[in-house]
């Protein structure tokens, strides 16, 4: 198992290097440079600034310098504020971003599981159809549309909850809910399909033939086994939340990483673009690794395969 994890972490680092390289060169293809649209700067000042941040070096040299620093965990300085490091920007922004993302994932998974289980147990009834209609809407409608609707009706018209900003617990509800809608829908649909399949298997019949009570059959035998594919989609879903939060953070003016990222692209703040991209990529590969390990814990058949490799 340890060998397996070490191997996976090595692959993870390799993936990150490839992502960093691609992003670096793609970014260099962006039109403009950080300081060329500030008209107040003279030619000399601009040259001095470029020199300070190493932007006058040839691109391959800049690349080598960047990767060397990256290997030491240093993401460089932002161009927007004098003397602030990208690391500190990310650390500051991480709090709100992680909070919203985690709340959305937790709430969405719990509600989705409940809806899916209920729909499967009441297969082909009104409840089943109702839950699935909600799920289809949840998948089809993007989170930012929900965000706008919630802001308008609950924030502006009813004034129940704040429309935007990040000043306390009540500010979490609308953004977290908008983000979780997709999670609810996806989890509910997967859970329903999986439960239905498992309720029809021989081992459920076998469990019933042992005289096991209905609730035991549902929770001990069906739900647990239905969770296996849910864990698989939890990874891509968490990643969806991360990218989804880019937009949601902007709509609700949450001072998170997503907001920094969008701002950085608008002003060609290279180190921040690079830093946030690498940070997001790191999160994604880490989530994939965690999901693979979790998968082994839930499904003993995979545990053995992992142990042997």
């Amino acid at each position: 198992m340890l060998r397996y994890i070490t191997q996976r972490i090595l692959y993870m680092l390799l993936t990150l290097l490839v992502i960093a390289t691609i992003t670096f060169f793609l970014m260099k293809l962006l039109p403009g440079s950080p300081f060329n649209n500030q008209d107040k700067l003279t030619e000399t000042q601009r040259y001095a600034l470029n020199e300070k941040y190493g932007l006058n070096d040839p691109v391959p040299v800049q690349y080598i310098n960047y990767i060397t620093k990256l290997a030491q965990g240093d993401l460089g300085y932002t161009f927007q504020f004098d003397g602030r490091t990208v690391n500190s920007l990310i650390v500051n922004g991480m709090g709100p971003s992680a909070t919203v993302g985690f709340e959305a994932l937790l709430f969405g998974t719990i509600v989705g599981l409940l809806l899916g289980i209920l729909a499967a147990l009441r297969h082909n009834t009104f409840l089943d159809y109702g839950a699935m209609v909600i799920a289809v809407f949840g998948i089809a409608i993007p989170s930012f549309v929900f965000a706008g609707l919630l802001q308008y009706y609950i924030g502006v018209k009813l004034e129940w909850l704040p429309v935007a900003f990040w000043n306390g617990p009540e500010y979490h509800i609308l953004p977290a809910f908008s983000l979780s809608v997709g999670v609810i829908a996806t989890v509910a649909r997967f859970m329903r399909t999986e439960m239905l399949e498992i309720l029809g298997t021989d081992y459920i019949l076998m469990a019933r033939s042992k005289g096991v009570s209905k609730s035991s059959v549902i929770f001990k035998h069906s739900v647990r086994n239905s969770l296996i594919p849910i864990v698989t989609i939890l990874g891509p879903m968490a990643i969806g939340l991360i990218t989804g939060s880019l937009v949601i953070e902007n709509i609700f003016a949450i001072p998170g990483i997503g907001e920094q990222f969008v701002k950085a692209i608008q002003v060609n703040d290279y180190p921040v673009i690079m830093g946030t991209t690498i940070f997001y990529s790191f999160l994604i590969v880490a989530i994939i690794l965690i999901v693979d390990i979790l998968y082994g814990i839930i499904d003993p058949r995979i545990r053995v395969a992992g142990g042997k490799s």
Binding site: Y203, M206, S209, I228, R301
Partner: protein, 339 residues
């Protein structure tokens, strides 16, 4: 002998999009204490449905017992509540399923799956149940039971899994064991082992067995009495000797004739021509009439009554009527040259 289980005129139907499928149409039989009864017939003859209705494990909503009674120790299971059935399942009547590869929960250890029934029906503590699980595994011939009890189904071979399933079924000393094609999914050498095991355990525990199968070889190995099912009905019942050596129903003849024989001169394997009846619109008369080489006009119109051949042997066929022509079973249907 004391009657343990008594099915009287059981009718089971399934509601499908196409209409009502009458899978079982008036099945009656009895099972004595410690006896083993085989129900044989081809796919779709209603043998599995009959056994599942005894356990009341028909698929919810679509399958139901329409008529008849299932008396078990004086209680009618056809009308018992789900709660009462939970107490009977596994404790009084238990079941072995066809495919051991799919009938164990892949994410639960073997031990836990055996312990489940014990904990529920016999109020055992965890450690008592575990000890009993180890003993049961030993009983069904699993080596190193103390270690294997904590393993998962995927770490067992097919034959081993079926042994585990048998251990689960016998864990609470049930009075009736229903074995639904227990050897069909196993290869031949393992089949023999499993049959030996079942016979051995029956000797030790005195459990009555209902064996559902389409394999007459298995019947000869394990059963004392046989019921031949066709089109949702029992067409012939008798002791193993009566069914094998003095069969009376043309369908039984067909079944026996289609059994491969080692000493056969002809290399061809005989089959009964035609297909079983459509149970959505079952025929008015004898269900086998359409495929029966001896069918008469009356067969198409009226269902024959079960006729007593001996005190233990009954067949439902118009050929047994005194007005019918005398017909001898074909050469191929004779087992071991007996006549």
């Amino acid at each position: 002998m004391e009657k343990l289980l008594e099915l009287d005129n059981i009718h089971v139907s399934f509601q499908t999009y196409g209409g009502e499928v009458k899978a079982v149409r008036g099945v009656s039989f009895t099972l004595d204490k410690g006896e083993s009864l085989a129900i044989v017939g081809e796919s779709g003859s209603g043998k599995s449905v009959t056994s599942k209705s005894i356990m009341r494990l028909l698929p919810n909503k679509i399958g139901s017992i329409k008529q008849g009674s299932i008396k078990f120790q004086g209680k009618d299971l056809a009308k018992a509540s789900e709660r009462d059935m939970e107490k009977i399942r596994g404790a009084e009547i238990s079941m072995i399923f066809q495919d051991p590869m799919t009938s164990l929960n892949p994410t639960m250890t073997i031990g836990k799956q055996i312990m489940e029934g014990l904990r529920k029906h016999q109020n055992m503590s965890k450690s008592e149940a575990k000890e009993r699980a180890v003993n049961l595994l030993k009983l069904v011939g699993i080596p190193n039971p103390e270690l294997r009890v904590d393993e998962y189904p995927h770490q067992f071979s097919g034959g081993m899994r079926q042994r585990v399933v048998i251990a689960i079924a016998l864990s609470c000393n049930p009075k009736v064991l229903i074995a639904d094609e227990p050897t069909t999914a196993l290869d031949v050498t393992i089949q023999a082992q499993i049959l030996d095991l079942m016979r051995d355990l029956q000797d030790k525990t005195g459990t009555a067995i209902i064996l559902i199968t389409h394999d007459l070889g298995v019947v000869a190995n394990l059963a004392q009495r046989v019921a031949v099912m066709y089109g949702g009905m029992i067409v012939e019942t008798g002791t193993v000797d009566e069914i094998f050596y003095k069969p009376k129903h043309p369908y039984t003849w067909g079944l026996l004739a289609s059994m491969p024989k080692l000493n056969a001169e002809s290399k061809e394997l005989l089959a009964i021509p035609g297909t079983p009846p459509d149970l959505m619109n079952p025929p008015k008369g004898c269900p086998f009439a359409a495929r029966c080489p001896y069918a008469m006009e009356v067969c198409l119109e009226n269902m024959p009554e079960a006729t007593d051949v001996s005190s233990s042997h009954k067949a439902a066929c118009w050929l047994l009527d005194e007005r019918a022509p005398k017909v001898e079973p074909p050469e191929e249907a004779l087992v071991g040259g007996a006549r």
